[in-house]
Symmetry: C2
Subunit: 257 residues, 2 copies
């Protein structure tokens, strides 16, 4: 079974974390796909260029100048730096935006209401399971390449669009019927976010209902779990939430229906 | 036969020229590879970020900050912008740096003597025919993708290196035994660089010797022709030098042994 692994900008931007992660990813057996962010570095470059990052509800507003910057950062430096490190580790990585091989098309997000006011996010695209060209990704995997996907997409009409790397990872996993491994800075789903000893090793639908009813899940974990169960309902057999430096797929919290 | 087409930074940086070129490239029949530069935009971004471009003998000195910038520009914005335009035109483009699928490895250039003084070009790599992973490129082409290659390479030890796009194009063409089409802003090899009517349609070894002996070739054309005959001696069957907006491979100057 294919495994789709997601890392965020905080890992990509930290040489020590990134190097530890690349070693784990290269050691993973079988067909696999990496989806990565790069938001930390993008915000820094925006600052440097005098275009401060504008976020609404945790999401980046992407005007034309910002689109150029995030494309340069995600598809340029982050993608190629990660691929060079993975090649060194013996993994035949191949960096991809949605326009590459038409693997992923996004639809420009219309202005939406956020916290009571209408927000135009600009050159931002949304993706879902149906946006993914699973046949193209399988061709690349079958030819021996390991897709390394960033959050830059295209609309099929010549325009690039900035998308959310988490949604890209979920959509790709759903389209491929792949296991989804979400890496972050904690060891998994914790009852107490400050105590690694409160790690829950396995959560199924019944356990999730019980934990919810008892109010025992940390607030910061709720969106991650909600998203995991959403993805499971879309044909992903298993979601793992874990630390980026731990063995992939066999540590952290395993979530099934 | 595969065709390798090269465009420079002046085409990539000009929306009108780029769009005309993409239409021609998409219309080209049979397997093809695009190699592109992006130096004009890289120099502009360097200026903006307060790191002025330093060139010696027409070649960019690449320190760590400059490497990040050229990687962002060539492999990020230029590569993805071109691929989105080609996808729109119906060509299944796939943007690649050397690290992607390990298609091209470069060796870091040792300090060399330029105009009498020793110059360390920094994070710069040199490539030749043997640097190209022809099997990987053929796999991608056979799977229906059109490789779009930029000048960022890796050394196999986790480091990215800036290379020269002309040399990348020549090396890829030689490794694939492909026809090489070099696009620039003139209609081909001209006897008088200011007069398109002086276009030479075909040059073989004998004609080249005669033109050289008679001193009839414009000085600016000499390096292009020298390079063409060098590439022909490495197994490339034909080199075409032509305008980027003209039909590819059937206009301009055709050069054979």
């Amino acid at each position: 079974m294919i495994k789709v692994v997601k890392i965020g900008g905080n890992v990509v931007d930290n040489e020590e974390l990134l190097s530890a992660f690349c070693a784990q990813f290269a050691a993973l057996e079988g067909p696999r796909v990496l989806v990565h962010g790069g938001g930390v570095m993008a915000s820094r470059l925006q600052e440097k260029m005098g275009i401060p990052a504008r976020m609404v509800g945790g999401r980046r507003i992407t005007d034309e100048a910002t689109l150029q910057i995030v494309t340069m950062v995600y598809a340029g430096w982050c993608s190629k730096h990660i691929c060079a490190l993975l090649q060194k580790a013996g993994c035949n990585a191949l960096g991809l935006s949605g326009c590459d091989g038409d693997i992923l098309r996004a639809a420009k997000r219309p202005p939406i209401s956020v916290e009571g006011r209408e927000v135009d996010f600009g050159q931002v695209g949304d993706v879902r399971k149906e946006s993914v060209n699973g046949a193209a990704l399988r061709k690349l995997i079958d030819a021996g390449f390991t897709p390394v996907i960033n959050a830059i997409n295209h609309d099929g009409s010549g325009h690039l669009l900035n998308t959310n790397a988490d949604t890209v990872a979920s959509s790709v996993a759903a389209a491929l019927g792949a296991e989804l491994i979400i890496c972050f800075e904690k060891s998994g789903v914790l009852l107490d976010k400050n105590d690694d000893a409160t790690l829950i090793a396995r959560i199924d639908t019944e356990a999730y209902r019980r934990l919810l009813a008892e109010g025992r899940i940390d607030g910061g974990m709720l969106p991650k779990l909600e998203n995991a169960f959403k993805v499971l309902s879309q044909g992903v057999p298993k979601v793992v939430i874990q630390h980026s430096s731990a063995p992939l797929g066999t540590s952290g919290t395993s979530i099934c229906l």
